[in-house]
């Protein structure tokens, strides 16, 4: 019997866990969830979920169809199946290419994502207005390569992170998955539109404060445009191509010939308030020319890049390549720390235009987990513990 046949037979093995094992695991999950959030997940309910759950990726798509048909009688069967058909390439495509347009001043970046031949990588090309930057990320090795073609510098960053890197298609897929799992989600089919010369059917899915609008080719049902809006921030993916013939050399993690290299480490595990404070300092002093930014978002940072590069060119700001990499990584740590905060931590940023060193004005506050008081950070990065009643207005 040949190895490939043995392989096939092995994969036909089937078994069922005993009820005892399922109950033990359900108890474990209930205990772990309670320790994490203070919420008790009844072990019995979880046991039923384990027994009934078949949430593989394919099953998730099928579940969408069932939920749409049973729970949303607003839609006829055709609409329900069409939504599932429209989102399927989003979830399954191994290669995706798209242009990204963000709501702030129409900044455009071009992103490609590949998952084939053992490579799981993304490539993002951004035109900052004063130069081009290319980010290539190797998901398996958690290694980021940033290329500055004008300066011929290749920055290698070893990213230690508990979370997948945001590369737009990842959050889109997460949002679709979240929409699928949220029992309160709504899907609405809008009037057909013409997009980029193509007739498109349009679906809008809403869950909490997040909205995903999908324009799909009316004949092929393949998405041609996506818009994700989260808390007022809009990201549009256009010029979308799925499972296209990709040039794998574009995802090479080797520095191009003639480039100098800079190595860095970005440890995004075990972040703390210390990283928040250092990130705020770097942002104000290096990128903000002594002033805190209008928002703590990547787009707000991008808006400051032209002035930052001008100061470097004029010599009013002097940084080595290593310091530039470290500064960027510190901002990433800050945004990751904020991004990982739980809703109950109730963070607020109010530092727009406040000068670094201002001892009177607060710029940020949040509530640590399991704390009764808030931590308020001032312009000089001093931190005070205050009650909710004492928070700045």
């Amino acid at each position: 019997m040949r190895p490939k046949k043995l392989d096939k037979f092995l994969l036909n093995l089937e078994t069922e866990p005993t009820e005892g094992l399922n109950r033990r695991i359900a108890a474990l999950i209930g205990k772990a969830a309670k320790q994490s959030s203070g919420t008790v997940f009844p072990a019995v309910a979880l046991w039923r979920r384990i027994m009934l759950s078949k949430m593989t990726k394919v099953a998730a798509v099928i579940a969408i169809v069932v939920v749409c048909i049973l729970a949303f009688n607003l839609f006829d069967r055709t609409s329900s199946v069409t939504w599932a058909g429209v989102i399927e390439p989003l979830l399954k495509a191994q290669t995706v290419a798209f242009d990204v347009i963000t709501s702030d001043r129409g900044m455009v970046s071009r992103t490609r994502y590949v998952n084939q031949e053992g490579l799981v990588r993304s490539r993002q090309e951004i035109d900052t207005g004063v130069g081009k930057a290319i980010n290539i990320f190797d998901f398996d090795r958690s290694l980021r390569l940033t290329l500055s073609p004008e300066k011929k510098v290749a920055f290698f960053t070893d990213v230690q992170t508990e979370s997948p890197t945001q590369v737009h298609i990842g959050p889109i897929r997460e949002l679709v998955t979240k929409i699928q799992e949220d029992p309160d989600f709504t899907i609405e089919q809008l009037d057909d539109q013409v997009i980029e010369g193509q007739s498109a059917i349009v679906f809008k899915a809403v869950a909490d404060n997040e909205t995903l609008t999908v324009w799909a080719d009316a004949e092929t049902l393949i998405p041609i445009r996506l818009e994700k809006v989260i808390q007022g921030q809009s990201v549009v993916l256009s010029n979308i191509r799925f499972d296209y013939d990709v040039d794998l050399s574009l995802f090479s993690m080797d520095a191009p010939d003639g480039y100098s290299t800079v190595q860095g480490q970005l440890d995004l595990t075990d972040l703390s308030e210390k990283d928040l404070l250092e990130g705020l300092r770097v942002w104000a002093q290096i990128f903000g020319d002594g002033q805190f930014p209008p928002m703590l978002t990547s787009m707000a940072l991008m808006m400051q890049i032209p002035a930052y590069k001008q100061r470097l060119a004029e010599g009013t700001l002097v940084l080595t390549e290593q310091q530039k990499l470290d500064a960027g990584n510190q901002i990433t740590k800050l945004m990751t720390y904020i991004g990982e905060m739980q809703p109950q931590q109730d963070w607020h940023y109010v530092g727009a235009s406040i000068l670094f060193g201002d001892t009177e004005k607060p710029i940020f506050w949040y509530k640590p987990i399991d704390s009764e008081t808030y931590r308020v950070i001032y312009g000089d990065l001093c931190v005070k513990d205050v009650s909710a009643e004492e928070l700045p207005r």
């Binding site: 019997m1 190895p3 043995l6 392989d7 037979f9 092995l10 994969l11 036909n12 093995l13 089937e14 078994t15 069922e16 866990p17 005993t18 005892g20 094992l21 033990r24 695991i25 359900a26 474990l28 999950i29 209930g30 772990a32 969830a33 320790q35 994490s36 959030s37 997940f41 979880l46 979920r49 384990i50 759950s53 078949k54 949430m55 593989t56 990726k57 998730a60 998952n115 398996d140 090795r141 958690s142 230690q160 992170t161 508990e162 979370s163 997948p164 990842g170 897929r173 997460e174 998955t177 595990t269 075990d270 739980q342």
Partner: protein, 177 residues
């Protein structure tokens, strides 16, 4: 991508995500543990222990490859430790023994050929059985197995080659009767 999302949700304390990971991979882990240990009860204990450890360490867990591969490796490591602690050679299941012993083979469902394969696997030395299962069932490369088990690639390749050879002989010998 789905596994990365589930791990992320686990880190955020989402019990449902852990439940989904268990639902998704429980059979694979149980099959591996059962074939390796030839003891269903111990196999279930091993799978439970793997999930206990995963739940406890998920806050600092970093998924660098396949979640399935990681969990299968955890099962294999614990099964190996259990096997060493037991310090006994698992008696090979001859045909007559297999008929009398209502053990792990019975729990692994499949057609007659699959059942013969499992019985043949049970007759391999533990290390060869482990390597063959991780490669064929777990889909891991031999180099990947060597790295995970802390062995030289040559050792793993030898175990795989000899295990496969013995397996084929056992199955062909079965077929000739």
């Amino acid at each position: 991508m789905e596994d990365r999302y589930l791990v992320l949700q686990c880190k955020r304390g989402c019990g449902d995500a852990l439940a989904q990971i268990y639902a998704k991979y429980r059979k694979d882990l149980l099959i591996l543990a059962t074939v390796l240990l030839c003891d269903r009860a111990v196999a279930e204990d091993i799978v439970h222990d793997v999930f206990v450890h995963f739940a406890e360490t998920v806050p600092t867990f970093r998924l660098t490859g396949s979640l399935k591969g990681f969990l299968l490796t955890c099962v294999a490591n614990r099964a190996r430790n259990h096997n060493k602690a037991r310090r006994s050679v698992i008696p090979p299941l001859t045909n007559s023994a297999a008929e009398d012993k209502k053990g792990p083979v019975e729990h692994l469902l499949g057609n007659e050929q699959v059942q013969r394969l499992v019985q043949a696997l049970n007759q391999l030395p533990y290390e060869q059985r482990e390597t063959v299962m991780l490669q064929m069932y777990g889909g891991m490369s031999l180099r990947g197995i060597a790295k995970k088990l802390g062995l030289s690639p040559n050792t793993v390749m030898s175990r795989y080659r000899y295990g496969l050879g013995k397996l084929k002989n056992l199955l062909n010998g079965d077929g000739d009767r």
